[in-house]
């Protein structure tokens, strides 16, 4: 690796971090917060004690599962913005199955719930995949629209068919899940639950799928250049649909895990924006299933800080969403700058002018 190339990359990444911090600072100042203490709260609070680390890890679970799915779809060249909707579908399915499985042993009930969520999410992912592959409908638009549709469908479900029969106040929410469908916490009094096992197993599976199997190879080829893939005899539409189904399935499972491990009942707003944050995590992890793990941890910290910001500062927790948006914008820019041979060349000539290496 050439010396200056590494320097160049480091410089670009550093610049990006500075820009991100600056954007955050400006917003914090604008809402009258204290920049340093706000950042300090975001970074230090999660590591205050074991309980708070568990909180971060708990948030990491759905983030990771969704981001893994997005790795598959994005690598295959289809942007899945619909994780939010697929997650809702997963919640509905797993909630329904959970009540049907009441009284069964956990070893049966839990896999059934998760499986049903995966199927529901997968089917919901199938729709935009099919529309894109067969009818050339932009997946960006169709998935976003399907998010709104799913939100309404979910609201309907928790208002009428899944409504808690003992609920008297009229708040739309389901009854508490039967014990057989609840994911247990590892340590009493902390939030970390068994879902993290699923997340890690999935990371390994997706890694193998993408990089060790011929299916993954074909998906990546289809995503990198659909024309070349078609020329190479790869059925591009088929793999687009499969990638979307896997992606949707992951989002559905994330919904199930969130329902069974954290909330315990289906209520409004259960997805808490994980579907969108998952996109940021996947991008931050460079669409690599293993890199997604640290990326999810970082965003777990960010999401957990929402709670602390609300308690400890005057800075509204919406700041986190703003930062996520800014981070997306910065990451996509940084990737293009890093891969731009022209700016790299200019950088080299300015700071490494002593190296003369000109090919003819």
């Amino acid at each position: 690796m050439n010396n200056y190339k590494l320097c160049y990359k480091v410089a670009v990444v550093l610049a990006a971090i500075i820009v991100a911090l600056l954007v955050g600072s400006i917003i914090i100042l604008a809402v009258g917060g204290n920049v340093l203490s706000t950042y300090w709260i975001i970074i230090s609070m999660p590591f205050k004690n074991f309980r708070s680390i568990c909180e971060v890890l708990t948030r990491m679970i759905p983030l990771m599962i969704i981001a893994l799915g997005i790795c598959v779809s994005s690598r295959c060249g289809i942007n899945n913005i619909g994780a939010e909707g697929q997650m809702y579908m997963g919640v509905v399915a797993s909630c329904t199955v959970a009540f049907m499985c009441a009284g069964m042993p956990r070893m049966i009930a839990i896999p059934l719930c998760i499986l049903s969520a995966a199927i529901a999410g997968g089917l919901y992912g199938f729709i935009p995949g099919f529309l894109k592959a067969k009818l050339e409908v932009s997946e960006l638009l169709s998935t976003v629209m399907l998010n709104y549709v799913a939100t309404q469908f979910y609201l309907f479900c928790i208002r009428i068919p899944l409504l808690d029969p003992n609920e008297k106040t009229g708040t739309p929410m389901s009854a508490r899940l039967p014990e057989s469908a609840v994911l247990h916490k590892f340590v009493r009094g902390t939030s970390l639950h068994e879902g993290i096992i699923l997340a890690i197993v999935l990371a390994a599976l997706i890694y193998i799928l993408l990089f060790k199997t011929s299916w993954g190879y074909k998906m990546r080829a289809a995503g990198a250049s659909s024309r070349a893939a078609r020329y190479g005899g790869i059925n591009v539409p088929k793999y687009l649909i499969i990638a979307m189904v896997i992606s949707g399935g992951c989002a559905g499972m994330a919904g199930a895990v969130e329902l069974m491990g954290v909330q315990g009942r289906a209520m409004s707003g259960i997805t808490s924006g994980y579907g969108f944050s998952g996109i940021v995590v996947a991008l931050f992890g460079a669409l690599h299933p293993i890199m997604v793990i640290p990326a999810a941890f970082f965003f777990g910290i960010l999401l957990y800080s929402q709670v602390n910001l609300q308690i400890l500062t005057s800075v509204p927790p919406n700041l986190v969403q703003t930062l996520q948006g800014a981070i997306i914008l910065i990451i996509v820019s940084v990737q293009m700058v890093i891969n731009n041979p022209y700016t790299e060349d200019r950088f080299r000539r300015r700071f490494f002018s002593s190296i003369k290496k000109e090919a003819k």
Partner: protein, 508 residues
């Protein structure tokens, strides 16, 4: 109007332009006088177009300077070049397809853009004036996408002249024309030289001979030769252009009488635009035979290649591959029958640019027993095989994990060739195999094709270089407007004959 009323002389001094890792032009100096035609020749990638883009102000030189009539000029944008009376017709026409001829010309005429509304009538007047003056007929209200290639070129010329060009740069103007259209253009340009100065880029040496007074040869970005055209033969110029004597491999075998490998009957295929690109096309190719398909590009060649490989829907007609009907089969099915395909756009279709050489080598074979078991890829097998291929096909790269898209054109073509040839195809469709390659790589590829022919593989060679076709083919078919004009034996063919056929004139 304009900064200079006339251009007595355009002089470049030591122009240097760098791209990352490449020195595109290396201290180039040249001079063009009034009413002079300078031919700028050189292989693909020699830096001709880059140099012209510097003159036009599209690129800014890293070093060196430019003088008009002895006065230094510094162009920051094409507008500056237009102001000084310099205009360029680019190799790929710079016309917006869904706008009319008038709108396209108005786009460059700053005079008609001063008011809120574009003054199209002023443009029309100017267009009429220019087209009468030079005898260039254009329909000002036609949309560009409705025009044929030759007409588009006229529009380009009119556009450049409307912008006040007194100094004309033409970048490979004949590359999309039939030989007859080329002759017309050359006659026109000779007439225009009475009023204009012209720089003419080409690598077709007979055109250079016919048109130019001076010739300047670029190689690897540097001027290697300048002189008067009339003092040199095309062969001498060619030798200077490539830096060595040109040796071309040629097919000297007897025509063969093998089994019919491909038989195309009444094939109709639509283009992207929706009209019939192939209109009842017929062709037969035997095994062990190279059939060259000559024709001006855009007459259905691409559609033919794609239809034969399952990449384009066949509307009607049949394609028989030995005994199997392959029209509208999937690409996978056709590949499995033993079809090989070297596509036109090697950078984006022939390879997946962001994937490594290793991954590109197995593009068509991920499910074969050799490279995978139960869908798990056999990594070590793949690497071993890739190393063999790099050796056998002389693919020059630091290692096999490098992104294929970062290789040079010649090496990319070798990767494709390695993959296609080593799969032992029964038939090979080969589209513009040496376009944009240097002579060395082209030579290598031609040798491989001839070797493949010896092994009894039928080859359809689609090319726009008549020389390549006449050297390699056993028989030559000519395509025009989606129809097979005629099939000639190699010995019957001549440039003139092919040219007439390419223009759509069917002889009896």
């Amino acid at each position: 109007m304009g900064k200079f009323t006339e251009i007595k002389e355009l002089r470049l001094e030591n122009i240097v332009k760098r791209f990352p890792g490449v020195l595109a032009t290396d201290h180039v100096s040249l001079t063009v006088g009034e009413h002079e035609i300078l031919a700028l020749v050189g292989e693909n990638g020699a830096g001709k177009t880059t140099l012209m883009n510097v003159i036009m102000g599209l690129y800014h030189q890293d070093e060196g300077s430019m003088f008009i009539n002895g006065e230094e000029v510094n162009f920051r944008s094409p507008n500056d070049a237009f102001d000084c009376g310099i205009g360029m017709v680019h190799q790929q026409y710079m016309l917006v397809p869904n706008m009319t001829v008038l709108e396209n010309i108005a786009l460059g005429m700053k005079d008609c853009q001063k008011n809120i509304k574009v003054d199209l009538e002023a443009v029309r007047a100017k267009v009429n004036e220019i087209s009468t003056k030079y005898g260039l007929k254009v329909d000002p209200d036609a949309y560009i996408w409705q025009l044929a290639v030759g007409e588009q070129q006229r529009v380009e010329l009119v556009k450049t002249l409307c912008l006040g060009a007194k100094f004309l740069i033409l970048d490979e103007p004949t590359s999309a024309l039939t030989p007859q259209e080329t002759d017309e253009l050359i006659a026109l340009l000779s007439r225009m030289a009475n009023e204009l100065s012209i720089i003419f880029i080409s690598h077709k040496l007979n055109e250079v001979k016919a048109l130019s007074q001076k010739v300047c040869i670029l190689r690897h970005g540097a001027v290697v030769f300048q002189g008067n055209t009339k003092d040199y033969t095309p062969k001498e110029i060619a030798a200077l252009m490539t830096g060595r004597d040109v040796e071309t491999s040629a097919n000297t075998e007897e025509p063969c009488n093998g089994k019919t490998a491909i038989s195309i009957k009444d094939l109709c295929v639509k283009s992207d635009r929706g009209f019939l690109a192939l209109d009842n096309f017929n062709l037969e190719i035997r095994e062990g035979e190279i059939v060259g398909l000559a024709g001006v590009s855009g007459n259905g060649q691409r559609e033919l290649a794609e239809a034969m490989n399952g990449l384009r829907k066949v509307e009607s007609g049949s394609i028989k591959f030995y005994d199997t009907e392959i029209a509208n089969l999937t690409p996978r099915q056709i590949i499995d029958l033993g079809m090989g395909y070297i596509p036109e756009e090697r950078n984006i279709e022939g390879i997946v640019p962001s994937m490594s050489i290793k991954e590109n080598i197995i593009l068509k074979d991920t499910e074969t027993e050799k490279f995978s078991k139960n869908h798990i890829l056999k990594n070590s097998e793949i690497e071993k095989y890739t190393d063999e291929m790099r050796e056998k096909f002389d693919i020059r790269s630091p290692h096999m994990h490098i992104a294929a898209g970062s290789l040079s054109g010649g090496n990319i073509q070798k990767v494709i060739l390695a993959r296609e040839i080593d799969r032992n195809p029964k038939f090979l469709v080969c589209v513009y195999p040496i376009r944009g390659l240097d002579m060395g790589a082209a030579e290598f590829i031609h040798k491989q094709l001839l070797a493949l022919r010896k092994r009894g593989v039928g080859i359809l060679l689609i090319s726009e270089e008549l020389e390549e076709i006449m050297n390699l083919s056993d028989r030559i078919a000519v395509i025009c407007k989606g129809q097979n004009q005629k099939v000639l034996l190699r010995d019957e063919a001549s440039t003139a004959k092919l040219g007439i056929l390419m223009a759509g004139v069917k002889d009896e």
